[in-house]
């Protein structure tokens, strides 16, 4: 019965295929890429097509959940996706990614040693690092009039009404747990309750919770201290010398976006070619220069603008990176955190 229904609906659908004039053609010479906004340059894709003869279509998304939704639908037609660490973990768990054929990735050795074998994907079996960054805060030096280096700043009464926090459960709890001297990935109920209480106490100090325009609001002067991702904040610091980005001494979250191949991909070979192309130092460096995020590629250092390499907001030193952690899978305690977060937001 199901087969029959499938057949007839399929017929109806196929008969309308003429709309996009698709079908046919050299199918192995195509690649469909699904990537974050402003995360690759057209020039780089054009060069890839010139080198390999593979034509690239690319679309952009603005959240990891969009990737999950598309891949889980079973109707997706993407060959490359670029999810963040925690989403890679979820996609692997749900069986939505293809194991990578390392034999075809001849440039794999370019990956910086400390970024190999990440906790979210042991041995890089399903993913290869693309760009990474940190989640700290930036502040206005003139307005604040003091040098800040600790998460304590975003809980400080003195900056009441001048603080912006990301509208993000993991990051806000991370800041609170770190200032309490705990791990940002804590699953301990007592520690989480203490973090919740701290966040509730912080709430009257916070001007706004915002995850999309934190850099813009900081620049406008509406807030003096803004919690946020380093890419946007570092750009704001370039434009306004009064601003400074801080990776607090307690450490912060480090995130990494990764190239992966979905199970539903139809051009797996072309996808490997593409990943290998992006692992070439010169190519990933072009992305770094355009986006001002950092890459995890040793061969790229030669081609990256020196100003970017020298900027501690983008390329923090070894010791600083040691203090930062990836977000872990929280398992069951995620629900507890979600409940506590709702309590914070509802106060």
């Amino acid at each position: 019965m199901k087969r029959r229904l499938q057949f007839w609906i399929g017929c109806a659908a196929v008969s309308s295929l003429w709309f996009s004039g698709c079908g046919g053609g050299d199918d192995d010479k195509r690649l469909n890429v699904y990537i974050w906004t402003n995360y690759i340059t057209q020039e780089l894709l054009d060069r890839f097509t010139a080198q390999t003869g593979i034509r690239v279509k690319f679309d952009v998304y603005d959240s990891n959940e969009a990737v999950l939704e598309k891949l889980a639908s079973g109707a997706s037609d993407y060959d490359i996706v670029v999810p963040t660490d925690y989403m890679v973990r979820i996609l692997i768990k749900q069986g939505l990614l293809v194991p990578l054929d390392h034999g075809r990735l001849t440039n794999l050795g370019n990956i910086t040693a400390k970024f190999r074998n990440p906790p979210f994907d042991p041995d890089n079996a399903h993913s290869v690092p693309y760009l990474w960054g940190t989640t700290g805060f930036a502040y206005n030096k003139t307005k604040v009039g003091a040098a800040l280096d600790s998460w304590a700043a975003v809980f400080d009464e003195r900056w009441k009404g001048r603080i912006l926090m990301l509208d993000d459960m993991r990051e806000c709890f991370g800041a609170a747990l770190r200032v309490l001297g705990r791990s940002a990935n804590s699953t301990n109920a007592t520690e989480l309750a203490a973090a919740r209480d701290l966040l509730i106490k912080q709430k009257p100090l916070v001007k706004t919770y915002n995850s999309s325009d934190f850099a813009g609001i900081l620049r406008s002067g509406d807030v003096w201290i803004a919690h946020g991702y380093n890419g946007e904040l570092a750009k704001a610091c370039d434009e306004d010398k009064n601003l400074a980005y801080v990776i607090p001494k307690e450490g912060c979250t480090v995130w990494m976006d990764n190239l992966c191949i979905p199970k539903s991909a139809r051009h797996v070979e072309a996808a490997h070619t593409f990943i290998n192309y992006m692992l070439e130092g010169k190519n990933i460096a072009a992305v770094v220069n355009a986006t001002s995020y950092a890459c995890a590629n040793d061969a790229a250092r030669l081609f990256i603008k020196p100003a970017l390499l020298a900027d501690p907001a983008r390329y923090p030193d070894e010791a600083t990176v040691k203090r930062c952690d990836f977000l872990d899978d929280l398992g069951e305690s995620l629900q507890l955190r979600d409940r506590y977060w709702t309590e914070v937001k509802a106060k």
Partner: protein, 251 residues
Amino acid sequence: MLRAVSWLVYVFLYAPIAVLVVFSFNSERQTAVWQHFTLDWYRVLFRDKLIGHAVANSLVVGLVATVVATVIGTMAGLAMARHVFFGKRATRSLLYLPVIVPEIVVGAALVSLFGFIAMRLSLTTVILAHIAFSISYVALVVQARLTGFDWSLEEAAMDLGANRWQTFWRVTLPLIAPGVLAGALLVFTLSIDDYIITSFVAGPGATTLPLQIYSMVKTGVTPEINAVSTLLLVVTIGLIAAAQRLETSRR
């Protein structure tokens, strides 16, 4: 007093749009501070290949969906108004359904349908989805136009020797044309600014203008977005003005 209140209402309704338009001419990248007048963002906009591609996609989807949905919707509306048949009430309710059902449900349902028949998401699936949710609107508008329709005009035409086909083209369609046109414009407008359903069913190379704008907003609102929104606004207002003129001149 009343006048003041109505002005306030107008301000409340249109101030955001005015701000959006004004800041599309602002030289500063951050939207919060006014610097000085510039057309740079429109220049940036016209050179932006991604936006160009998204506009092309939106136009293709909008035009195809409008034509197909208008034809099917008009047929449905005519059938509902003209005939009495078994299950008419049920059919009518079914026709209303897509208007009432939340878009997010329609989007999720369409994606599972496409998954079920193993059809890959692409521009085609976007067009199919837009046709699917648009037919009802046309049918409803056409049906509304047909209430109080003088069916004896059709009978007169046929008495005078016209066949059904000729009657439809020469008598019925011209009379209901404003309704059909209004339906078509409604569909085009709905299609061109649909975000939710499209975000579910869009596949490779099928990014439409609303999807593009939304993904750009996530990395900060630049005046380029204000500029593209302003142009979208101008086109929409132009279309509606044209439709209204057309309709009044027909009467």
